[in-house]
């Protein structure tokens, strides 16, 4: 799980929308990451002012879920941090 309290997208990323999510191009180190639609929503919500719980509430709203998926959002943010696209 991530220790990041209010995750925000890293700078210098080139983000492109494709049919099934986002293609995130990172110049240094040069890498490309594919985010599926769920990861893409969470990535977009990482603006530095929302907590994990607040992001989970937004995701609940977007996908009409019965409860905020806090654990899933936490895992996803942790993965995005590992990919160095979120900090």
């Amino acid at each position: 799980m991530t220790s990041v309290q209010r995750p925000s997208r890293c700078e210098g990323l080139e983000v492109n929308q494709v049919a099934d999510g986002l293609v995130v191009y990172q110049a240094a180190p040069e890498q490309v990451h594919y985010l599926n639609n769920t990861s893409a929503v969470i990535f977009e919500l990482c603006e530095g002012h929302r907590s994990i719980e607040e992001i989970a509430e937004q995701v609940q709203d977007v996908f009409s879920l019965p409860a905020p998926p806090v654990d899933e959002v936490n895992a996803c943010v942790s993965d995005l941090v590992d990919k160095a696209v979120v900090r």
Binding site: N16, V18, V23, Y25, E30, Q31, V32, H33, Y34, N36
Partner: protein, 302 residues
């Protein structure tokens, strides 16, 4: 290319490169027919460009015989038959590869790529004209053939797309000395197309960016094979017709084709005898990077 034990079933895991992607295929939980079908995708081309992403695909065969294909752990689809798995993964890996290339400003052309004494040559032609036949002849004659089907272009640079060469049933009649290298090849379309990997036959197969020196428009000839200079303006529409637009605007497509044609020399090759056609391609003059072709040059006949 890498083949080895993997997965809980102890079967195969295979990896190969497609442009900027490293693709990993795990068939450890699949019927052996799936691994056999996926041999078509795997090739040994050496890529002189970094892998920017690793794409993982896994296949699990269910008790009803259908196969579930997953990409990065997410189930994509359940399909019937090993050929269905191949079709789905083929479409996905190529979609990903060409999507990324397009986002980076590359445009795809229907062309074989040959590196010979005259520099990098694109052989452009519609399907069925003889690109692969000519490519195989050139390969056996000592040229480095990097692709028989498609190439990415940008700023006058060409980047071959590695794909096993598609040998149609009549190819070996035209290039009989290829026969020793064509046993036990994966096949498509009920066996009418066999997929040849030059590296398996110990031919070098390298994928790297290089400036385009020559663009050859290949046509079928009814008499003798001949090679003639062509004007960039005249060949432009034919090159455009052999492009595969992805999501780039038409203007960008035309600009990239024009960038190639402004630096390369253009030729029309009418192929009757593949042997003579290969000799003509091999005789293309050394590149003069910034010059256009000399309109006073004459037809070169066999």
């Amino acid at each position: 290319m890498r083949l080895g034990p993997g997965g809980q079933g102890g079967r195969e895991i295979a990896g190969f490169r497609l442009l900027w992607h490293q693709v990993e295929l795990n068939t450890g939980q699949a019927d052996p027919a799936v691994a056999e079908a996926l041999r078509y995708l795997v090739n040994g081309a050496e890529h002189d460009l970094p892998a920017l992403a690793v794409m993982h695909y896994s296949v699990t065969t269910r008790s009803d015989g259908s196969h579930v294909v997953s990409e990065e752990g997410d189930a994509l689809e359940a399909v019937d038959g090993a050929d269905g798995v191949l079709d789905l993964i083929y479409r996905r890996v190529h979609q990903r590869a060409f999507e990324l290339a397009s986002l980076r400003g590359w445009v795809r052309l229907h062309a074989a790529v040959v590196d010979g004494a005259g520099g990098r040559t694109l052989i452009v032609a519609p399907s069925g004209t003889g690109k692969t036949t000519l490519s195989c002849r050139l390969l056996l004659d000592g040229a480095a053939v990097a692709a028989d089907e498609s190439v990415m272009i940008k700023d006058g640079i060409a980047l071959p797309v590695a794909r096993r060469f598609h040998l149609k049933s009549d190819l070996e009649a035209a290039v009989p000395d290829l026969r020793p290298y064509t046993t036990d090849l994966p096949s498509l379309s009920g066996g009418s197309v066999r997929a040849f990997d030059p590296s398996e036959a110990n031919f070098p197969w390298s994928v790297a960016k290089a400036q385009v020196a020559h663009v050859v428009l290949l046509e079928r000839g009814v008499e003798r094979s001949s090679l003639a200079p062509g004007s960039a303006v005249a060949v432009m529409p034919e090159i455009v017709a052999e492009s595969f637009p992805h999501q780039e605007p038409t203007g960008a497509l035309l600009a990239e084709i024009a960038a190639v044609l402004s630096r390369a020399r253009c030729w029309r090759l009418r192929m009757h005898s593949v042997n003579r056609a290969a000799t003509l391609v091999a005789s293309l003059p050394e590149s003069r990077q910034t010059s256009r072709h000399d309109p006073k040059e004459h037809w070169i006949h066999e």
